[in-house]
């Protein structure tokens, strides 16, 4: 019974998202919802390394870029079918993550964050300067879109992938691997003292996290039809971190909620005109100060308080 109750909000959210395209009369909101679902995938990946393992990585957008360019260039240069390139995108990203993760994860805390930030900068510099392949800052246009650019169909693709990868993240979190990742976050030295090779688990989290980003990047490229290096800069990596913090770090629902916030909030604030970004920044500062456990954390605490009160009154 408890399990069904716990699943109920997820089923409701899924049902709501499934009917969304049918009730949205303004397709602009469908466009934003697709972007938000792509960001759900990216943020779930970020949560694996940041929320569960306790390592703040600032290269998630860089990995998105590798997935986006990987899929696009394979399609354009080798004429591979779109679906094949999209499947290949996270695999290519995984290779890069393996190569960068091994040296990066030798350091901890702020040092790890700085190293990954440097990797993001390097990825952007390579994308800008290797213009024979990437077309540099001008970017690549007319990237093929599935179903001739039908946004409704793409929405369902993004929804299925976001839901599946959220489920996968939940399965990882509940597995023995997930428990070790949480233990690494709590006390890495203790984990090592127990004879567990922590580096293998950290590398696993980092690579899986990158694969999520790679797939998110490929989806972005084939949805928007245009990519250039600017889209995959450090600012976007910070958005991924922000999505995790705002929603609730180390939770499964948190990154999903946070992803919708980082996409919708700046758009909803357009009424503020040139003060939009000031207002957005202010909301983020206040949210981080007053809600460090994120929306899910606050909701859980409030729910627990209500239950306690009910029990007290009942007893």
């Amino acid at each position: 019974m408890n399990r069904i109750l716990a699943l109920l909000p997820w089923l409701l959210a899924l049902a709501l998202l499934a009917v969304l395209p049918q009730v949205l009369t303004v397709k602009y909101y469908l466009h934003l919802s697709i972007l938000a679902l792509i960001w759900v995938i990216v943020a779930q990946g970020q949560n694996l390394i940041q929320g569960f393992t306790g390592y703040v990585s600032i290269v998630q957008a860089g990995f998105m870029g590798i997935g986006a360019y990987g899929s696009t260039l394979m399609g354009l240069n080798f004429q591979w079918p779109l679906w094949a390139t999209m499947i290949m995108a996270p695999l290519i990203t995984a290779l890069f993550a393996l190569a960068t993760g091994y040296p990066s994860l030798r350091v901890k805390g702020h040092y790890f964050a700085i190293v990954t930030l440097a990797f993001n900068l390097i990825i952007v510099i390579v994308l800008v300067n290797y213009s024979e392949l990437t077309k540099g800052e001008a970017g690549i246009s007319n990237i093929p879109k599935p179903w001739g650019g039908n946004r409704e169909a793409f929405y369902y693709l993004a929804l299925v992938l976001a839901a599946s990868l959220t489920l996968l993240a939940a399965l990882i979190a509940r597995s023995r691997v997930g428990e070790i990742l949480l233990a690494i976050r709590q006390n890495e030295d203790l984990v090592a003292a127990l004879g567990i090779a922590a580096w293998k688990y950290k590398l696993f989290a980092f690579v899986i996290s990158a694969m999520y980003a790679g797939l998110g990047g490929a989806l972005y490229a084939h949805f928007q039809g245009f990519i250039n290096p600017e889209i995959f800069g450090v600012a976007q990596s910070l958005d991924a971190i922000l999505a995790v913090i705002l929603g609730g770090s180390g939770t499964i629902a948190g990154p999903a909620i946070g992803a919708f916030l980082v996409v919708f909030l700046p758009e909803l604030l357009r009424f503020a005109d040139s003060f939009r970004l000031i207002l957005y920044g202010l909301i983020l500062v206040l949210a981080t100060i007053f809600m460090p456990i994120g929306i899910v954390g606050i909701a859980k605490a409030a729910f627990a308080r209500i239950i306690r009160r009910e029990v007290r009154h009942g007893g």
């Binding site: 397709k27 466009h31 300067n129 077309k135 540099g136 889209i231 040139s274």
Partner: protein, 404 residues
């Protein structure tokens, strides 16, 4: 004719006139602006958005746009795209999907413009690009896209000829060379100076947010160049000019920036700017301006309490071109007809920039307009138009047509 008959005839005539005029229903035409209103690109984007709003007020005051039996008064909605591709896509999607806008103007910056250009061909909308100078925007033959600003390499070719004529052989470049159109400008300059035995001896890069360019300048100084060429946004370019003087580099300074006096003087002094050349399209400066340009400068300054940036009329001219195209097409509803009319448009008399029509048309087959190019020099606190730069719009248009 009796007095009664005459009165009745007059009344009938008056009635006909009133009925006739009431047939010309007044409607609202909403045009959208997607541009960088905040961030680094705002030095170009904000004046562009202001220019469109000003043009709309002028057109409305003069009676609006006549399209067949209808008269349209213009309403402008402007959204910030931060010069970011994703933001630009979101802004344009909002304009088209939510606000029902069919005509989208502005577009100061190349990355964000290219993102929108990649899907605008599938929309029942017309996109008019302003200051964004990346060449590829008009090489894709998108039928519902036109651009008022010429591509950077069109201007670079003319600039190279000018520098070559000045006799400097060893040129050091410092600029935002990771931005495609600046690199294209420099490549064109290099091609021209090579023809007279000149060379580019250094290509140093700054990013658009950099403010300390002394390391690059110190390196360049060590190479002993005959001149430096600075390509980039206004602020970093202003820092280069200032720091070159502070480092004692007493050599000619050429640039491609399109900044106003006011924008440069926020960073540097007039003395430090003295003698700097800006080799760019013949954009707005009071000394080069036509009668329209003088009026535009005065009206803009009065309305916004600031001088217009030299490139802002690209956006102002967009709205007058759109007005003429809608009137020629006789409809504002049919965007295909308006897009076609834009391609066949003669240069409207109200525009500010000095366009060089190709085969008598403002926009060529690629949807590209060409202005003349000019050499401007900073003299005693002002950009002074010194001379026209040789530019062959027809030859360039043919070259552009060969690109994919």
């Amino acid at each position: 004719m009796s007095k009664h008959k005459f009165t009745r005839a007059c009344a009938a005539l008056a009635l006909t006139l009133v009925a006739g005029s009431s047939l010309a229903a007044e409607k609202k035409l909403t045009v959208g602006v997607a541009d960088a209103l905040t961030g680094g690109g705002a030095v170009y984007g904000l004046p562009q958005a202001n220019a469109v709003k000003m043009a709309a007020e002028e057109i409305n005051a003069a009676g609006g746009i006549k399209a067949g039996p209808d008269i349209y008064k213009i309403d402008v909605i402007a959204y910030d795209d931060k010069a970011n591709p994703t933001e630009a896509t979101n802004a344009v999607r909002k304009l088209i999907d939510r606000d029902g806008v069919k005509y989208i103007l502005g577009f100061c910056c190349s990355g964000s413009t290219s993102a929108v250009a990649s899907f605008i061909g599938n929309e029942k909308a017309v996109m008019l690009v302003g200051n964004a100078a990346e060449r590829s925007i008009t090489t894709k033959k998108i039928p519902n896209l036109v651009r008022t600003r010429p591509p950077a390499d069109y201007t670079g070719q003319a600039a190279g000829t000018f520098i070559a004529r000045k006799g400097q052989k060893r040129i050091a470049v410092l600029g935002a060379l990771d931005v495609g159109f600046y690199a294209q400008y420099v490549d064109s300059v290099e091609r021209e100076i090579k023809k007279v035995g000149g060379e580019i001896i250094a290509r140093e890069v700054f990013s658009l947010k950099d403010r300390d360019m002394t390391p690059q300048l110190t390196k360049i100084r060590g190479l002993n160049p005959d001149a430096i060429l600075v390509v980039g946004y206004v602020e970093p370019a202003a820092f280069v000019y200032r720091q070159a003087v502070e480092l004692g580099m007493n050599i000619p300074r050429y640039g491609f920036t399109s900044g106003s006096e006011e924008q440069f003087l926020r960073v540097t002094t007039s003395e430090q700017m003295e003698g700097v050349w800006d080799l760019r399209p013949t954009e707005l400066t009071l000394l080069s301006a036509s009668k329209n340009g003088v009026a535009y400068h005065a009206n803009y300054t009065k309305k916004y309490n600031a001088s217009p940036s030299p490139s802002s009329p690209y956006a102002y001219d967009q709205l007058y071109a759109l007005k003429a195209a809608i009137e020629a097409a006789g409809t504002a509803e049919n965007t295909e007809a308006v897009a076609k009319a834009l391609r066949n448009l003669a240069v409207p008399p109200q525009v500010v920039m000095q366009y060089q029509p190709v085969d008598g048309k403002m926009f060529d087959v690629n949807g590209q307009a060409y202005t003349s190019n000019g050499a401007f020099q900073w003299q005693k606190g002002k950009w002074v138009f010194v001379e026209d730069l040789p530019s062959d719009s027809k030859a360039y248009s043919q070259f552009l047509s060969t690109l994919k």
